[in-house]
């Protein structure tokens, strides 16, 4: 399963959405030095604090549930951070490169922009996973605007009905757009949902 690969939207729509995945194999987590490197990675991520729109670990929840320090203590083999701009992504990637952690770092986002970012800081991308789109009975899918939000949770835990429900609540002034985006993000169990982008997309839908 490739949870962050299938985010819907064209290049313009995806300009504020980059997911960084830092990891190692489950087996290597038995090595205490690798565990320390993962903790160092959390320190680097936390230095970007509010510039990250979300962070978390595999099945560990997102920033709505735990702090950087709490995630750091969990010793998970795969951690995530979501960036809303390429500049911060670049700065973070550069810092990880400088520290020479030896951990695998994958960036999920606009391929051309990620490639450009790597080139600017002297990295040579090794492997790519890319998507060819959606096939089959596509009339079962919700509207593309809805998909742009739902596909930010790779486990598909954000339902189209929830988006409609929250839009209605925002329309009735029972909730702000930011609260609606956070409620959507809360359903994502890995912290890869981008609430800043969701807020923008909800605003455009209302």
């Amino acid at each position: 399963m490739s949870h962050s690969l299938y985010r819907s939207g064209n290049a313009e729509c995806l300009h504020d959405d980059y997911v960084m995945l830092i990891g190692t194999s489950v087996d290597r987590m038995k090595d205490p030095t690798v565990r320390d490197k993962m903790r160092e990675a959390w320190d680097i991520l936390s230095s970007f604090g509010s510039h990250l729109t979300n962070f978390g670990s595999i099945r560990g929840g997102g920033r709505h549930r735990k702090s950087f320090e709490e995630f750091k203590k969990e010793d998970k083999f795969l951690v995530h951070a979501v960036f809303k701009d390429r500049e911060t992504l670049k700065a973070c990637l550069e810092k990880i490169k400088e520290k020479d952690l030896g951990l695998s770092v994958t960036v999920s986002g606009l391929f051309d922009e990620v490639k450009k970012t790597c080139r600017e800081i002297g990295l040579t991308p090794h492997t790519v996973q890319y998507s060819l789109g959606i096939f089959g009975k596509t009339d079962l899918l919700p509207d593309e605007r809805v998909l742009e939000i739902t596909t930010m949770c790779g486990h598909a835990m954000v339902s189209p009905n929830l988006i409609a429900h929250l839009i209605e609540k925002v329309g009735k002034k029972k909730m702000t757009l930011a609260e609606a985006a956070l409620e959507l993000s809360r359903q994502c169990e890995c912290g890869i949902f981008n609430p800043a982008r969701a807020e923008r997309l909800l605003r455009e839908m209302i």
């Binding site: 399963m1 490739s2 690969l5 299938y6 985010r7 939207g9 064209n10 995945l21 990891g23 190692t24 194999s25 099945r59 795969l78 990637l93 990880i96 490169k97 952690l101 030896g102 951990l103 695998s104 770092v105 994958t106 960036v107 999920s108 986002g109 391929f111 990620v114 490639k115 790597c118 080139r119 990295l123 991308p125 090794h126 492997t127 790519v128 996973q129 890319y130 998507s131 060819l132 789109g133 959606i134 096939f135 089959g136 009975k137 596509t138 899918l141 919700p142 998909l147 739902t150 596909t151 486990h155 598909a156 835990m157 339902s159 189209p160 009905n161 429900h165 929250l166 359903q187 169990e189």
Partner: protein, 238 residues
């Protein structure tokens, strides 16, 4: 997933949280109550984890075989089922600079049936597996779907699971670049005949200049690369 009729107060709070829209009202002892349609529920647990039920009426019952495979393909906390005995899990492009399990000249294909958010019956999954098998594909032995096959060479799943479903059922296979076009064409041919959606993800070693070596093959199959991708930056070390 189930909802206790005794505890439910028909507030409807849980309805929008269901990933597949399987919760609706029914009449029970002349009162309106929420119920999860068991045929549609994929056992993802989203309704329970949302925590919105004010009376804790939602619960996860003990699941028997084969229904429990719904959770394995839908609930993030259930974990995947094992593949064929002794087989390693499918190659992970996120770790490929360390493991080297996706070598040059080979594409790892993930056909994610039911994605995004629609869900799929295993009958449809089998249709796709059969089409791929006919195109000469060998399924990844470590993949959960391969582990559920009665006859991997023919792409046939075990009979007892065909009426089950999952939110996202991934078929994995590795294929040399020269066989990829045939595999993609097989997927396009079966596409109009299934009752769900599927997404296709391809993993490759990049060329030295950063180009995707199989882009032209995908285009020859009439397919367009999405602008979004997952790029392994090459920082990992063994």
């Amino acid at each position: 997933m189930k909802i206790s009729k005794e505890k439910c107060i028909a507030c409807k709070a849980c309805h929008p949280y269901c990933s597949v829209g399987a919760i609706s009202f029914v009449l029970w002892e002349e009162k309106k109550k929420s119920e999860v349609a068991q045929a549609d529920c994929v056992e993802c647990g989203a309704c329970l984890r949302s925590g919105v039920c004010p009376t804790n009426a939602i619960f996860m019952p003990e699941l028997d075989w084969p229904r429990k495979i719904r959770a394995h393909f839908s609930n993030p906390y259930a974990g995947p089922l094992p593949g064929l005995k002794g087989a390693a899990p499918p190659p992970d492009p996120k770790l490929n600079e360390v493991t080297g399990r996706i070598p040059e000249g080979v594409t790892v294909v993930a056909v994610e049936v039911g994605r995004p958010g629609v869900g799929a019956s295993f009958r449809d999954v089998q249709e796709i597996c059969k089409a791929l098998s006919g195109a000469g594909v060998t399924f990844d032995p470590g993949s959960s779907v391969t582990g559920l096959m009665a006859n991997p060479a023919a792409g046939e799943l075990r009979e007892e699971i065909l009426n089950e479903k999952g939110l996202n059922v991934v078929i994995h296979f590795s294929i040399p670049h020269q066989g990829l076009l045939r595999g993609l064409r097989a997927l396009m041919e079966v596409s109009p005949w299934i009752n769900t959606v599927f997404s296709i993800g391809l993993s490759n070693r990049l060329d030295e200049d950063g180009a995707i070596p199989t882009a032209s093959i995908a285009e020859a199959a009439g397919l367009t690369l999405r602008p979004h991708a997952k790029t392994n930056t090459g920082l990992g070390r063994a």
